[in-house]
């Protein structure tokens, strides 16, 4: 049996606009912060996994040139919005394999001011029709055969759930956003901390019905990093380090298995359900044991389906579950007490480590005004469209 892996140190930058900092400044800030939090130096790190989608190739090595070139292996990873979780997972696997006892995962993105994340701008057309691509298309399909915009794709995913099970409509999706924006007012790390009324959310600019602007994740700058250690290594460290360490009870990454229609509209449900089931089995807990959940609310329409996918509610019962108040911070299963991606922000490659930071910070009892009292177990979930799903279950140290 491979041994347990623990988070020894973890750090995130404030999410938002960092005008004077580039990708390496942000990545360095998070990495140095994580090592300081862990009480280790760069010489202790045996493996580095690094994620950055926008900045180009070789981010991990560029980061090393800022924080320490020790010759350790670097894994540059890319898995859309699950990139950060993938980096974390790579370090978990490296430690479980026994090759190293200490490693670091870093994710960074500079997205502030980036527009809609979508397909390509349509070129001026003329000349004559030429068949192109795997559909033999004579013209771009975005807008002619469905939509390639992320708000539009995830709107359809939420509406598909509404069609299948009923109970969800524009107002319910907007109420989910109302919750997350309300939560964000307590989080100093969030990019946007304004509370919105339901009316304000529903009457804001419509992006892709039923997602209005505040119901979409915010493009921001940010970085997050974590230092992980083996349990054997942890037991050699100080009592204070052991007390603050957070156990990774489950670390799972899945891709989307074939399901009917999955190549027509992405099925983000099946791979999440599988990841959650495996994670609960690994951790030996069930959804009822979770004191808090950070899940991938890239759009308000996505949060609803993940209540169901993560088994937080009865199958098909996500709307009733939300209406019961369960996912507000004073409910039975607080979800996205950070404010979620809609208010905290979504610097793509950082997201999958930042949500682990959020959960870990509550488990350590260090979450300040937004602390979920007595939190012992939490779950962090991300989806990268394409798709990749990362689920991590975390537990407070018994020490």
């Amino acid at each position: 049996m491979a041994e347990n892996v623990w988070i020894l140190g973890i750090s995130m930058t404030r999410f938002g606009k960092h005008k004077d900092k580039d990708t390496l400044d942000l990545g360095s800030e998070a990495a140095i912060g994580a090592m300081r939090d862990a009480g280790v130096g760069i010489g202790d790190i045996g493996v580095l996994a690094a994620g950055n989608l926008i900045g180009g190739n070789g981010f991990g090595q560029l980061l090393q040139k800022q924080i320490g070139q020790t010759g350790i292996p670097v894994y540059n990873v890319a898995n859309a919005c699950a990139t950060g979780a993938t980096a974390l997972r790579v370090v978990v696997m490296a430690i479980k394999s026994g090759e190293v006892d200490t490693g670091m995962a870093v994710g960074v993105e500079k997205l502030s001011g980036a527009g809609l994340l979508t397909g390509n701008a349509r070129q001026a057309e003329g000349g004559h029709w030429v068949r192109d691509g795997r559909y033999g298309a004579v013209a771009p399909l975005d807008g002619r055969v469905g939509t390639e915009t992320m708000p539009g794709v995830f709107a359809q995913i939420g509406m598909e759930y509404a069609h299948k099970y009923g109970g969800a409509d524009f107002e319910l999706f907007a109420r989910i956003s109302e919750k997350n924006h309300a939560h964000s007012t307590l989080n100093p790390m969030a990019a946007h901390r304004k509370r919105f009324t339901l009316d304000e959310i529903m009457n804001d600019v419509m992006i892709a019905y039923p997602n209005t602007r505040p119901m979409c994740s915010a493009n921001v700058d940010g970085a997050a990093a974590a230092v992980l250690v083996s349990e054997t290594k942890l037991r050699t460290l100080s009592l204070e380090q052991q007390r603050r360490a957070v156990k990774i009870s489950a670390s799972v990454l899945t891709s989307d298995p074939w399901t009917d229609g999955c190549q027509v509209l992405p099925d983000i449900n099946t791979l999440t359900r599988r990841a959650a089931a495996t994670a609960y089995e690994q951790a030996g807990i069930g959804p009822a044991d979770l004191d808090l959940v950070e899940l991938h609310d890239c759009f308000a329409t996505a949060e609803l389906v993940h209540y169901d996918n993560l088994g937080l509610c009865e199958p098909g019962g996500a709307a009733d579950f939300f209406n019961s108040g369960a996912t507000w911070r004073d409910g039975s299963t607080p979800v996205n007490v950070s404010g979620g991606l809609q208010s905290k922000g979504h610097p793509v490659s950082a997201t999958g480590i930042a949500n682990v930071w959020e959960v870990a910070t509550h488990l350590r009892g260090e979450a300040g005004d937004r602390q979920i009292e007595g939190a012992r177990v939490g779950l962090a979930h991300v989806i990268g469209l394409g798709s990749a799903c990362g689920v991590h279950v975390l537990e407070r140290s018994a020490a």
Binding site: G136, G143, P151, M159, H163, V264
Partner: protein
């Protein structure tokens, strides 16, 4: 006037319809050029005509899109008797009063444009069945 379909899986003519590549082994259907079946790994495909009527199982009304894409438009998925098809909902106002989950729709053709040689490209969409 000469006409070409927007995509390979659209068949024009008197009765426009869509054609799927169907895995000979497991029956999974696809609309793109295939290397193999994503469900079973099978390498052989036949072609299957997709029913032209179905039910709208999800939709969104896109108000912001990439440069050059006309908005608003309705994007959705239609269950054509067991085969899921991606397409726009057309010939009805793009608002939630006129476009509803579960509505019945049928395939129709949509003009895309005419090239320098005078060839017209024709796409498809789904329109409400009254």
């Amino acid at each position: 006037m000469e006409r070409v379909p927007l995509v390979d899986y659209l068949v024009l003519g008197d009765e426009p319809h869509l054609v799927a590549a169907e895995c000979t082994d497991c029956g999974a259907r696809y609309f793109d050029r295939r290397s193999a079946c994503a469900r079973c790994g099978g390498l052989e495909f036949g072609s299957a005509d997709v029913p032209t009527e179905g039910v709208l199982t999800t939709f969104t009304i896109v108000q912001f899109a990439a440069e050059g894409v006309e908005v608003p438009f309705v994007a959705g998925v239609v269950d054509c008797d067991g085969t899921s098809v991606k397409g726009n909902v057309v010939n009805t106002p793009p608002d939630p009063e006129h476009v509803t989950l579960g509505m019945r729709v049928r395939l129709t053709t949509v003009p895309v444009g005419t090239d320098a040689d005078g060839v017209e490209a024709v796409g498809y969409g789904f329109e409400p069945i009254d």
